[in-house]
Each structure stands twice: as structure tokens, then as C-alpha cells.
């Protein structure tokens, strides 16, 4: 029998703020953070709205002795590090870098703590890099590799900080978190676009089940709200043109047949996955049991039904892994990117698995509120799902469009919902898919 695993802490940094509470309150209120981009002048891009995190400094979320390291943290890393701190505190756990009270011993031995944090392709900060590149232009204003080279000791590349590369390596999200919290168990960095978060949670689940750890930091974080990120996402035909609109909630309308595309958010979500027996022994505040997980890869096709096979396998595997059938699922939190071909693929998979029942299962969507947070999305979604299960509540649902009438996806207020089992799933640009089933922790484990 597998060792049972629960979520005992949720940490998040989203446009609503730091922590799961502001996110949950924002969702209950039906608010959206999709606003004009303020971080840089977006006028050169067709899509100019996003959900930015404001008033956030990573320095506030690392131990004093570690503050120096913040200067080698890209934004994505900062989001992960802060989310991890929130998660540990929320779980009431102590680690070396984050003791619950002064001088308290860490709750778990270092070797029993794993760390799986998904990441995306991190873009170099343009000012930092270009200020160095600009010192290697020749008299005609053209960049010269000859001037860039350092063999004579004074090449322009010397203007990059020595640790420049480490600021942008995707594994540094996990590495900084392992260092701060002295997590010496298995550590991985899954890079599968929007599926990264769910696949990371799945891997943590398996690592604990197979007895290689008892506790894992698990999730993902990403920020694509920068020039390179916006360009690449636009090249991928992911972003809705925003024109003069300033309210992104009017743009992002998942499952509307006329959806114009998605919008970006930045965000991180880290969950504490913990062996249920240990969590119960320390009287932890348990959100939900992670009862099932599945993954699959989508074949390429112009036909959404064919393409949806990967997500379909992921969902079916997760439900089976939980020892359930589709009839047991009470609510679903899908990707709901608002990108037409991705929405179509997702609905095709859900329809295949749930048949006519899909008409009645509430779909929870968070992209109209916080945008598509990419590698952060899956674990933020699982965090929201964990709140739904624990609070027996579904948040308000924003949708300014007209979702297909046979879907439970239109605008809705907050409502009570006694959820026993909830599915969180996502597809991803590139074809990876992940699905997790959360179950109310009051039931005895399978």
C-alpha cells in the first residue's frame, strides 16, 4: 500500500499578494488583477495587460544571513523562495532557515525533506545584460565578439557579474529553497511549461510514497512579464491583443468559443506535501489528501479530440490512482488558459472522461483573476483546490464571455460545495499534461 500524502501548507505569491489568504479572498470577491503592465512600457506589444505582483521584495522572505544571495535571484527565483517561506509557516513547520520560534529544532531531519519546484525558460534581465553588451560595440556601433572576449584580461564580458549565469538557471528555484531550508532529500526541477507545477507535485507525491522523503517543497514559479517573455508568448500565439482595454477580466474568458487568447500573470505556488501519518502525529492543519496523480503527452494534431489524448490519459490515470471513478469528482480546476486551441483541447479531454456529467461539474477558473502564471500555474491551482476542499466552498467565477452552454463555467458567486474529491489538471504549450486528485482529508486513506 502506498504511503498516504497530504497537503499541510500552502504558500503562494500572486498578483493578489503574498500568501494563500489574499489569493483566496480575491477569488471569493471575484476580483481581477489583470491591469496595464507597469513594469516596462508595453506599447510595442499587442498584448499590454498582465497580472503583476506589486510591492514585493524577496529580501523580506529570506533569512538575514542569506540576503546577499538575492542579487543572484531572477524574479522567478524570488517568487519561489517567498512562496516556500509562506508554505513552511502556513504548515506550522520549522526548518533551519525558518524556525517557528527562536532556537526550535527543525521538525524533520534534513535528509527527509525533498524539493520539487518547476520552472520555465528564464529570460536574462535586459538592462543588466545590455549594459555589458554595449561596452563591446565597435566604432560602427556593431557588437564585436572580439571586444567581448576576455583573453587580454579586459574584455567586455567582464562587465557581467561573475555569477550571472546562475541567476537564470531554472534549477536555482529549487537550489535556493533547499539551501535556505536545509532540505537535503531528492530535489528536482521540472520544466514543462504550465504543466511544471502539477508534475512537480506528482513527483513529490511519488517520492514520499516510495519512502525517499517524508516532507517536500512542491510547486513552481515563473515570471514571463518581461520583454523576452512577452515576445515569446506572442510568437506562440498565446496572448490576446488588448487594444485600449484596461480591464483584463474582460479579455480572459475561458471556454468562450470566441475567446481572443490569454494574458500572463506572474506567480509562484509552493505546497508542503507531507506524509499523512507524520502530519497527523504532529496535529498539523491538513488541507486535503493528494489521492491521485497522472501524466500524459499530447500527440500533435489539428484535431482537438486527437490532441486531447495526453490530457485524457493524465486525468484517467489520476482518478484511477485515487481509487475513484469519474462519477466521484465533485469539482474541476482546469488550466482554462483562454487560448482557443488549448481550451478546445482541454474540453475535449474532459468531455471524453466525464461525458454528459461534465455539464454539471463546476469548473473553477483562476486565469481571469491572476492570469496564466505558467510554471506557477499548476501548483497555485492545487493550492486553490486545497482551499476549496478544506473550506467546502467554491470561489466566485469571473467570465465576461459566453462559455459553451453545456459547461458549468459562466459567471458565478461564491457557493458552498461539500467537495469530497476535486480534480486539478492542466495542458501545456509543448504537449505535456498533468492531473492531480485532492480528497477531503476527513475520509480514511485508501
Amino acid at each position: 500500500m502506498d504511503r498516504s500524502v497530504v497537503i499541510s501548507g500552502v504558500g503562494a505569491v500572486t498578483a493578489f499578494g503574498v500568501g494563500i489568504e489574499p489569493l483566496w479572498e480575491g477569488l471569493l470577491a471575484g476580483s481581477s488583477c489583470l491591469r496595464p503592465i507597469s513594469r516596462f512600457d508595453p506599447s510595442g506589444f499587442p498584448s499590454r495587460l498582465a497580472a503583476e505582483v506589486h510591492d514585493f521584495s524577496a529580501r523580506d522572505f529570506v533569512p538575514k544571513t542569506y540576503r546577499k544571495a538575492v542579487k543572484v535571484m531572477a524574479r522567478d527565483i524570488e517568487l519561489a523562495v517567498a512562496s516556500a517561506k509562506c508554505a513552511i509557516e502556513d504548515a506550522g513547520l520549522s526548518t533551519k532557515g525558518c524556525p517557528a520560534t527562536d532556537n526550535v529544532e527543525p521538525t524533520y531531519p534534513s535528509r527527509r525533506i525533498g524539493c520539487h519546484i518547476g520552472a520555465g525558460l528564464i529570460a536574462a534581465e535586459l538592462d543588466e545584460l545590455t549594459s555589458a553588451l554595449a561596452t563591446a560595440v565597435d566604432d560602427d556601433g556593431v557588437f564585436s565578439l572580439e571586444k567581448w572576449g576576455d583573453v587580454e584580461g579586459d574584455g567586455a564580458m567582464g562587465n557581467l557579474q561573475p555569477l550571472w549565469l546562475l541567476k537564470y538557471l531554472p534549477n536555482m528555484l529549487s537550489c535556493h529553497v533547499t539551501i535556505i531550508h536545509d532540505a537535503q532529500g531528492p530535489s528536482n526541477t521540472i520544466t514543462c511549461a504550465e504543466a511544471s507545477g502539477i508534475l512537480s507535485v506528482g513527483e513529490s507525491l511519488r517520492v514520499i510514497q516510495r519512502n525517499d522523503a517524508d516532507l517536500c517543497f512542491s510547486g513552481g514559479a515563473e515570471n514571463k512579464i518581461n520583454e523576452m517573455g512577452m515576445l515569446r508568448m506572442d510568437f506562440a500565439k498565446r496572448l490576446a491583443p488588448t487594444g485600449d482595454e484596461t480591464d483584463g477580466a474582460k479579455i480572459v474568458r475561458p471556454f468562450d468559443p470566441n475567446t481572443p487568447g490569454g494574458l500572463l500573470g506572474e506567480g509562484g505556488g509552493i505546497l508542503m506535501l507531507e506524509l499523512e501519518s507524520s502530519a497527523r502525529a504532529r496535529d498539523a492543519n491538513i488541507y486535503a489528501r493528494v489521492s491521485g496523480f497522472g501524466a500524459g503527452h499530447s500527440p500533435r494534431s489539428d484535431d482537438a479530440a486527437e490532441r486531447s489524448r495526453g490530457l485524457q490519459y493524465a486525468i484517467q490515470s489520476a482518478i484511477k490512482d485515487a481509487g475513484l471513478t469519474p462519477a466521484d469528482i465533485d469539482a474541476i480546476l482546469p488550466h482554462a488558459s483562454g487560448v482557443p486551441h488549448m481550451d478546445a483541447e482541454e474540453i475535449a479531454a474532459l468531455r471524453t472522461v466525464f461525458g454528459d456529467r461534465l455539464n454539471d461539474i463546476p469548473l473553477v477558473t483562476i486565469t481571469p483573476n491572476i492570469g496564466d502564471t505558467m510554471a506557477g500555474h499548476g501548483s497555485i491551482a492545487i493550492g486553490v483546490g486545497a482551499m476549496c476542499v478544506r473550506k467546502r466552498t467554491l470561489p466566485a467565477r469571473l467570465n465576461a464571455g459566453t462559455p459553451a452552454p453545456d459547461l458549468n463555467a459562466g459567471p458565478a458567486d461564491v457557493r458552498d460545495a461539500p467537495i469530497n474529491h476535486m480534480l486539478i489538471c492542466t495542458n501545456a504549450q509543448g504537449g505535456q499534461n498533468g492531473a492531480v486528485v485532492l480528497s477531503a482529508a476527513t475520509e480514511s486513506p485508501q
Binding site: V137, V151, G158, N171, I179, Q184, C192, E227, H297, G431
Partner: protein, 457 residues
């Protein structure tokens, strides 16, 4: 031993690679035994004034050599080409069909039970257009990039395909498509340990029965101006411009860093039941996997090699091997170690210390070598190629040397198989090998790979 649930055994049934020393396993292996090194001046861009102006470059590939119809892969990144070529070799060897002969490639496997786990790197930066765009947006007075100007230049200069191919899940996406994998699919990017981790986690997926067959491995190239720059700034690269063919000197006192390589290694893994059912020949068995984090510093390895030690101990534990166990001939049960062996000052001494901490007095009895001394460091792809090296050791009973080990470092005092390959068939060949990979930032992974000896393990 750690209590673990009953699980499937996992065997390797196909291997393939693209490296600076050959674009198939046989050629690479012969080059390693011949002690050839793959190092030469960088030809991909003008690195003349770089303190490291050399690398281990793999040849340019034509995918038509491996695929009957390479048209779906027009425009894929160099790293993805390496992966596709390697995967086709492994797929064919596993008896799953030859992608070059479409009629034979109707494999007898259920696509939803075929998964893929790669540790592949990001694609190659479009450096020229990227720099041109950045400089077009640069406001020298304000010392900042004007985003509107930048965007205008970007849409003029940059290519959608080249940008999207850089996402680090794209290699995975193309290989899955090429071979029809619809099961669990992952890419991990844990720096220099990525493909070892991918093989290990793929093994765990099979052990649990979440798939019947997994394609596992990695591909990477960072031989582009900013990749080389990044490692030069970290002072991780050899700068031996005056003796390029012998620049990489793992465990030697005059080692001064690694040589960047590029390429891919791919393995077909399956549950033993699945391999037997379809009549496939196991090349070797993966008997152990360990994973750990140093949790020390992003720039330095934990000085006692504690993370490396944990990773090895966990892999040995899963394989059911105690560090003191010996075989009937009195040899330690681990017959060969494929070292991470980058040739940096720090890695080689600490890896040596970690191995001593694991095996104690027996450490010196275990031959180990670093093929990075000849192949260079394939970064994310290194571990997959080194796992293939272990399979070759098991098959041939010959160990590849550590090249350029002429001045042993007193703190590196183990048996590194210096300069000449070693035939160990007279003492029973290689039954079990251990392969280490450690990443910048402190993620560590170890595989234990064993001769397949039928049902009776």
C-alpha cells in the same frame, strides 16, 4: 535498508547517442578506448578572444540519416536534433522499429503506456539577433533598455521558431511526437545532473507500474557565445589554449576546469515483464537510483561531499548493495564508477572524498574514470551518455580511461584508470557499475546499473 513497496524490475533495451566522438554508440565507445579527445577550436562562432576558445563540438546532423520523413522537424534546435538522432538509435536497437523504415516502425506497444523523461537543456540562443535587438533598444544615457524600441527591433529581427525552440520542453515534445509516446512525459533541467535524474525518475515510474516503457535521457548544447561566457565568468572552464587536445585533466594536479561538450544520450527502459513479453533483449538492468541536495551554497559543493555521499548511499541501498559487500573474488560489488569527474579543482577532490566516505578503505579497489576527459562535459546530457558508457563496460568488460592524468593530485588518490583502457574480463568483467552526476546548485544523482542476470536477482 529503506522499506520500499514491491515494484517492477527495470531493464535497458536500447541505447543511442550523439557525441563529439561519434554519432552512434559503437563509434563513441571505440574512440573512448582509443583515448581520443574531441576538443578543438570553437567553429560555431568567433571565439578567438575568449579565454576559452575551444570546445568539444559534435558534428552537424542530417536527420534524414535516422528518419524516413524528417520534414516534421524542420527548424528544430541543434539540441533537439541530437536527441532525435539518439532516440532513433535506441528505439531501433530495442526492436521497436526503425524510424528510417516506416513500414517497420509499427511498434507493438500501447502509446499511452509509453512515457518519456528527459533531462534536456534549453535550446540555443539566437545570439546575433538577440544582441542586435538589445542594442537597438539600449538608451545609453539612461542606461536602460527602452522596451518600445526593443519590441520594434525584436519583431523585425527575431524568429518565432527560433525563440519557441528554446523552451526546454521542446526537445521532449519532438521526441515524444517522433516515437509516439503519449504516456507520462517530463523534462527536468537540474544543470549537469539532469539526464541522470531523468533516467532515475523514469526508472521509478516504471517500477511503480505507471508506464511499461520509457524513453529517457537528455540533450544539450551551450556552445554559443553567452553559454561560453557564462561558464567563463564562473571560472569553470579550462583555459588551456596552448594545449587544446589535452585541456581536460580530471583528477590531475594541473586540472583547470572542464571543456564544454554537446550532444545527447537516449535509453529505452522498460519493465522486465514488458521486455520479456515482446521478446526484447535486456542490455542491462537499472538496480539503483539515488537523489539528494547539498543544500549548501549555489556556488560551492559541500566540502565533505555530503550530498554526493547521500546520493550514492541511496542508490546502493535501492540496489541492495552494502558499501562493504564483496563478490566471490573479493572485489567490492561495485566494479566500476563513472565519475562526475569534471576536471574542476573543486569537483574532483570532493567527489574523491565522497567516494572514500561511502566505500571507506575499499574505495581504492574500485576503478573509476571520467570520460569527460575525452568527451568534454555535455552538461544536461552528460549523465545519459555516461550511463551508456556503464552499459558498454558491462557488455565488454573493458573500462575507458581517464585521459590526461599525468600528474596525480595527492588528494585524488583513487584508481582513476589513468590514460589506458583496462580489460577486467580476467577477473569477471563488470557486473555492476555506479554513475555519478552533480549539478551546479547542489543537486546530486547516482545510478547503479547491473548486468542483466535473468530472473534470479
Amino acid at each position: 535498508m529503506t522499506q520500499r513497496p514491491a515494484r517492477h524490475r527495470v531493464v535497458i533495451t536500447g541505447i543511442g547517442c550523439v557525441t563529439p566522438l561519434g554519432t552512434d554508440v559503437a563509434t563513441m565507445w571505440q574512440s573512448l578506448l582509443d583515448g581520443r579527445t574531441g576538443f578543438g577550436p570553437v567553429t560555431r562562432f568567433d571565439a578567438a578572444t575568449f579565454s576559452t576558445n575551444f570546445a568539444a563540438q559534435a558534428p552537424d546532423l542530417d536527420l534524414a540519416d535516422w528518419y524516413a520523413d524528417p520534414s516534421p522537424f524542420v527548424g528544430v534546435g541543434r539540441n533537439t536534433k541530437f536527441a532525435l538522432a539518439s532516440a532513433a538509435q535506441a528505439w531501433k536497437q530495442a526492436g521497436l522499429g526503425d524510424p528510417k523504415q516506416p513500414s517497420s516502425s509499427q511498434s507493438q506497444v500501447d502509446p499511452s503506456r509509453v512515457g518519456i523523461y528527459l533531462g534536456s537543456g534549453e535550446g540555443v540562443l539566437d545570439f546575433e539577433n538577440y544582441v542586435r535587438t538589445n542594442l537597438a533598444g539600449w538608451d545609453a544615457e539612461k542606461r536602460t533598455v527602452d522596451a518600445a524600441k526593443w519590441a520594434k527591433a525584436a519583431y523585425e529581427n527575431m524568429s518565432a521558431v527560433r525563440e519557441l525552440e528554446q523552451e526546454s520542453n521542446m526537445t521532449l515534445s519532438h521526441v515524444a511526437q517522433a516515437l509516439g509516446a503519449c504516456g507520462p512525459a517530463y523534462n527536468c533541467l537540474t544543470a549537469c545532473t539532469a539526464s541522470t535524474q531523468a533516467i532515475g525518475e523514469a526508472t521509478e515510474i516504471l517500477r511503480r507500474g505507471d508506464a511499461d516503457l520509457m524513453i529517457a535521457g537528455g540533450a544539450h548544447t551551450m556552445i554559443h557565445p553567452l553559454g561560453v561566457t557564462g561558464f567563463i565568468r564562473l571560472t569553470a572552464l579550462s583555459s588551456r589554449r596552448d594545449d587544446i587536445p589535452n585541456a581536460s585533466r580530471p583528477f590531475s594536479i594541473d586540472r583547470d576546469g572542464f571543456v564544454m561538450g554537446e550532444g545527447a544520450g537516449m535509453l529505452v527502459l522498460e519493465t522486465l515483464e514488458h521486455a520479456q513479453k515482446r521478446g526484447a533483449t535486456p542490455l542491462a538492468e537499472i538496480t539503483g537510483f539515488g537523489s539528494s541536495a547539498d543544500a549548501f551554497r549555489i556556488t560551492d559543493i559541500q566540502p565533505d561531499g555530503q550530498g554526493a555521499r547521500y546520493s550514492m548511499l541511496e542508490a546502493l541501498d535501492e540496489a541492495g548493495i552494502g558499501p562493504d559487500d564483496e563478490d566471490d573474488n573479493g572485489r567490492p560489488l561495485i566494479h566500476y564508477i563513472s565519475a562526475h569527474g569534471t576536471g574542476t579543482r573543486e569537483n574532483d577532490s570532493i567527489e574523491t572524498r565522497a567516494i572514500k566516505n561511502v566505500f571507506g578503505d575499499r574505495a581504492g579497489q574500485i576503478p573509476m574514470s571520467s570520460v569527460k576527459s575525452m568527451l568534454g562535459h555535455l552538461i544536461a546530457a552528460a549523465g545519459a551518455v555516461e550511463a551508456i558508457v556503464c552499459v558498454q563496460c558491462i557488455h565488454t568488460g573493458i573500462l575507458p580511461p581517464t585521459k590526461n592524468l599525468n600528474k596525480p593530485d595527492p588528494v585524488c588518490d583513487l584508481d582513476y584508470v589513468p590514460n589506458e583502457p583496462r580489460d577486467v574480463n580476467s577477473i569477471g568483467g563488470v557486473r555492476t557499475a555506479l554513475s555519478n552526476s552533480f549539478g551546479f546548485g547542489g543537486q546530486n544523482n547516482t545510478l547503479v546499473i547491473s548486468r542483466f542476470e535473468g530472473e534470479s536477482r
